[in-house]
């Protein structure tokens, strides 16, 4: 009996190690993209940065398999937006988080780099689109009370409409800004993705081949005249 369970544990261990090796070797080498301080002048249209485009590409076949096996969150966009002050805001941490863990360590990333199912919360851990930023709590804070200090008239703006297609059947546009979120698969391709925005074809890793950025929260370009 003991022996069998050791075998099983050993089997899982080997599988896990193999999976970790596959995942880590297939992740793309970070390109040496120099980042300088840049300042956007108000009103100018911007192109999204590109560095995140293929970040999860090495896991695309796994993500596809999970999708077709129906492995994934049953939750929708409701809980997703409930954790954000406005669409595009950094989400809060909806679970207890150990305050004593080092800043700059990879504590959060143990679950949020690759994702996976967590029994304790009966939820899939969302995958961070920017795992290179290690000071998570700089932007993501826990929720320890539901009360307010003082009443507020803050109203959440409506989130962008999903499925915005230019033509019947054409690929929906990207209706949101991509700052900090330019790795599409982390939010749209993993089992943690809200069901409305989970992509059926995560193996098509060159997302912006078909989906154009049409963030209408930016200034609409003027009608151009010759």
């Amino acid at each position: 009996m003991m022996k069998t369970s050791y075998v099983i544990i050993g089997f899982w261990l080997v599988l896990f190690i193999a999976a970790s090796i596959i995942v880590s070797t297939s992740l793309f080498e970070e390109q040496l993209v120099a980042r300088a301080e840049t300042l956007a002048s108000p009103g100018a249209n911007t192109l999204p940065v590109e560095e995140g485009v293929f970040k999860l590409a090495g896991r695309a076949d796994e993500l596809r398999a999970l999708f077709y096996r129906g492995v994934g969150s049953k939750k929708g966009l409701g809980p997703y937006y409930s954790r954000r002050a406005f669409p595009g805001a950094p989400p809060v941490i909806p679970h207890p988080a150990d305050e004593h863990q080092d800043i700059g360590g990879k504590a959060c990333l143990q679950c949020h780099q690759n994702g996976g199912y967590v029994d304790q919360y009966q939820a899939f851990a969302p995958v961070s689109p920017h795992p290179e930023l290690l000071n998570c709590k700089q932007c993501h804070v826990p929720v320890v009370t539901t009360g307010s200090f003082i009443a507020s008239s803050w109203r959440k703006p409506a989130p962008p409409e999903t499925g915005q297609q230019e033509l019947p059947g054409s690929p929906p546009v990207i209706p949101h800004a991509l700052e900090m979120r330019n790795n599409c698969l982390s939010c749209h391709g993993t089992p943690a993705a809200p069901r409305e925005i989970r992509v059926s074809h995560p193996d098509r890793v060159n997302c912006r081949q078909c989906h154009a950025l049409n963030d209408n929260t930016m200034n609409a370009p003027e009608i151009w005249t010759r």
Partner: protein, 772 residues
């Protein structure tokens, strides 16, 4: 946190994934075939209107209008997938400024006219110009987007009816070096392999080719294969870090123009390490060298003729000694280690390698040489003309191959062969039923020289079709004023107004893509047919029909006996006669109507395409006694050319310290006359910009989005700076996409060209950046 459970679940997910990847088939394509759209839509197949990949699309029409687009799951090219341009292509025709009526310039104002009036005027002007100044005073400038019938009637009209070689096209600006490369090495144009190579190759080397943005559907097929077969490697060899570099397994950056030295260094390593496929080389290869220090074509009426001299393997080996990897490190900026790595990939007999390139190698003052040099690598190793092994030149226009190259809408070309060859002229005269003497034996103007001739006043009449030279030519700062002069009568046929139609005397409204029937030929020699699906608006007319109508008005009616309804098919059937025979047989139109294209040489007996030319196993045109037969050349042997590194004509200096590179973005296609009129694409990239390296920007005190002026010795343009956005140029280099007609970067570029192919180099000139 119950980590054990978490880890266990993660491992389970990985295991399931591993199992699922064993499942064959692309589930995505199956999704596409589901007809989940609102009812009553009729789907008709066509090739995509945009790039040279030639994806199969299904156009949805309802109540006489185009309403939707999807990928054709039956097309072997794209298997149901498109890119964002393809999915939205039909939307351009809804633009408010669609040309629907002919416009004639009268006293500086455009006045609407009927098609008859306009065509009468064009014919009268052409006749008058020929009478007054001779045949060589009239010219036509067409396109790699012209359909096969459109290109064919233009060639027949100019060369067979009028009797002038004043016909060239915009494919000169993008594919001429590839053509000259193929002809000098193999004696026959166009790639030997096909897209299916992607499914067999282990290594893809992309030579100066941002495939993720420019040929996205093929690049997705590369990525797809890398997911399915873990040994697949993508190597990006470029002067700028792009989306492709980020997806690649390895990105190698080199200094502009030094690809010549890198290719030679790879050959040095292959020979030095004993990786030469000796039996292949002995049986199928001859060695040659050509002239060196061949110039850059910067002066008007520049002439060059290469002279080949036979050499032997040892002479070639001695020549390569200068390109030992450590010797070229400083010149190329590429470490000897990286060059050796590349050579090892090409040299390993166990690896199948495909090289891809497009404008990086072609728009190059030594473009023909560069094409030759990449062939050298594949020929030395014998990695050619086999599934998964071969050099493959990609194209940028939907019929650069089918029309420009195969029909031959270049000054020196005929549908079969060249004007300088008497046999070829006799064949053309026979099929066209014109006196043989009428077809002149001397080529006249290639694209750049044609616009120089207009500026000089040598050409008095120009008709452009399906192209926008005043955005796409190099050094438009000279050629725009040249075309504006009153002494050249300019006729522009197009779907939308452009900076070229702005200088026209007559603007003819053209039918768009699926508003007419036609054929295109893509990069893999695939000819594709489509049927007219909707009526063109107003008086918009297919380009071929406008050419025919003008020819008739000029008295050549007997040469153009085609019917209005079915001219495309009648012309194609006539054209097919030029390519009869095993080496270039074109599929009959009935076949093309049924299936998503066919690759020539089409084998009538079996109804099959020839996917790998020059390999006797796949190509019945080969001498079946041999394994390979490069039958384009009389001796059946391909040529390894000794071609040195030579510098670019203009390099950065103190006054103009930056290299300027120009190109495209995924959202926009060429001069943007269609894509900018598609709202979803315009909203994604509304204007051009100049990409700077962050360190250069910091040093110059330039912030992102700040307007800066790009200045060269030719001209200047003002654009917003782009820092850390789409691409990352190397230090000392800047990049500008050329689609934006309000920020004309080609006012800045240099009109130097490859002396052999006459294709201009848009990738290299010297500029300075000024704050404004």
């Amino acid at each position: 946190m119950n980590r054990r459970v978490f880890l266990k679940k993660a491992a389970a997910a990985s295991a399931m994934a591993a199992a699922a990847t064993m499942l064959p088939g692309i589930l995505f394509a199956a999704d596409q075939t589901k007809d989940n759209l609102p009812g009553g839509i009729k789907w008709t197949k066509a090739p995509c209107r945009f790039c040279g990949v030639g994806c199969g699309v299904l156009i949805g029409t309802k109540e006489g209008k185009t309403v939707a687009v999807k990928g054709d799951p039956n097309s072997p090219v794209n298997q149901g997938l498109l890119c964002v341009k393809g999915y939205h292509q039909i939307m351009c025709t809804s633009a408010a400024d669609r040309l629907t009526k002919p416009l004639i310039k009268k006293n500086g104002q455009y006045v609407e006219a009927t098609m008859d009036e306009a065509l009468d005027l064009v014919a009268a002007k052409m006749t008058e110009t020929i009478e007054k100044y001779g045949k060589d005073a009239v010219a036509m400038y067409t396109s790699g987007q012209s359909t096969i019938p459109e290109g064919y009637v233009a060639a027949k009209f100019m060369k067979g009816a009028i009797g002038t070689n004043n016909l060239d096209c915009n494919a000169r600006l993008c594919m001429a070096s590839a053509v000259a490369g193929f002809l000098t090495t193999f004696g026959a144009d166009e790639p030997m392999g096909c897209y299916e190579d992607i499914d067999y190759a282990d290594v893809f080397v992309l030579w100066g080719n941002n495939m993720a943005e420019m040929h996205p559907v093929l690049f997705s097929r590369l990525l797809d294969n890398r997911l399915k077969r873990k040994n697949v490697k993508i190597i990006d060899l470029a002067t700028r870090t792009t989306r492709t570099s980020k997806a690649a397994d390895k990105s190698i950056l080199f200094k502009p123009q030094t690809d010549l030295a890198i290719a030679n260094a790879i050959c040095y390593e292959i020979i030095n390490n004993g990786w030469v496929n000796h039996s292949f080389v002995e049986q199928h290869i001859v060695f040659k060298k050509g002239k060196t220090t061949i110039g850059y074509g910067l002066e008007d009426k520049f002439k060059f003729k290469d002279e080949a001299e036979a050499i032997d393997f040892n002479q070639y080996k001695t020549f390569l000694a200068d390109y030992r990897p450590d010797k070229v490190e400083a010149l190329t900026g590429v470490s000897a280690k990286d060059i050796k790595y590349l050579a090892a990939l090409y040299g390993d007999p166990g690896l199948k390698v495909v090289s891809y390139w497009c404008m990086g190698m072609n728009q190059h003052t030594r473009g023909t040489w560069m094409n030759n040099l990449v062939y050298n690598i594949h020929l030395l190793t014998g990695k050619i003309s086999q599934p998964g092994n071969g050099p493959f030149s990609l194209t940028g226009q939907p019929s650069a191959c089918g029309t420009a190259r195969e029909v031959g809408t270049f000054t020196h070309k005929l549908p079969k062969g060249v004007v300088t060859n008497e046999k070829h002229r006799r064949l053309a005269a026979k099929i066209w039923q014109v006196p043989y003497e009428r077809i002149p034996a001397k080529p006249t103007y290639h694209a750049t020289e044609m616009f120089r001739a207009i500026d000089r006043g040598d050409i008095k009449f120009l008709w452009t079709q399906v192209t926008n030279p005043l955005v796409s030519l190099p050094k438009t700062s000279r050629y725009r004023p040249g075309m504006k002069k009153n002494d050249c009568f300019v006729v522009v046929s197009d779907v939308f107004p452009t900076p070229t139609s702005d200088v026209a005397d007559v603007i003819l409204p053209a039918a768009w893509h699926v508003e007419k029937s036609g054929m295109y030929g893509n990069s893999e020699r695939r000819t594709q047919y489509w049927d007219k699906m909707v009526e063109p608006p107003g008086e918009a007319t297919p380009d071929a029909w406008m050419t025919i109508e003008v020819a008739r008005r000029m008295g050549f009616g007997d040469l153009f006996p085609y019917s209005k309804e079915n001219h495309h098919e009648e012309i194609y059937n006539e054209y097919r006669q030029f390519h009869v025979g095993k080496k270039h047989n074109m599929a009959p139109v009935e076949v093309l109507k049924k299936q998503s294209g066919a690759i020539w040489p089409y084998i009538e007996e079996t109804g099959k395409s020839t996917q790998w030319r020059f390999n006797a196993k796949y190509d019945p045109a080969c001498d079946q006694e041999k394994d390979f037969d490069f039958y384009g050349r009389p001796d059946g042997k391909a040529v390894i050319w000794q071609r040195p590194y030579e510098p670019a004509p203009e390099v950065p200096d103190n006054e103009y310290p930056f290299w300027l590179n120009t190109g495209r973005v995924i959202e926009h296609w060429h001069t943007g006359s269609m894509t900018r009129r598609i709202p979803v694409l315009h909203r994604a990239v509304p204007n051009a910009y100049v990409e700077l390296h962050p360190d250069d920007a910091k040093r110059l005190g330039i912030q992102n989005k700040q307007l800066v002026k790009v200045v060269s010795r030719r001209g200047s343009t003002v654009l917003p700076a782009s820092i850390n956005e789409r691409g990352l140029p190397a230090k000392g280099q800047v990049f500008v996409p050329f689609f934006d007609e309000s920020m004309l970067i080609n006012d800045v570029t240099l009109d130097a060209f490859c002396p052999i192919s006459k294709e201009p180099d848009y990738k290299k000139c010297a500029v300075r950046i000024e704050r404004v």
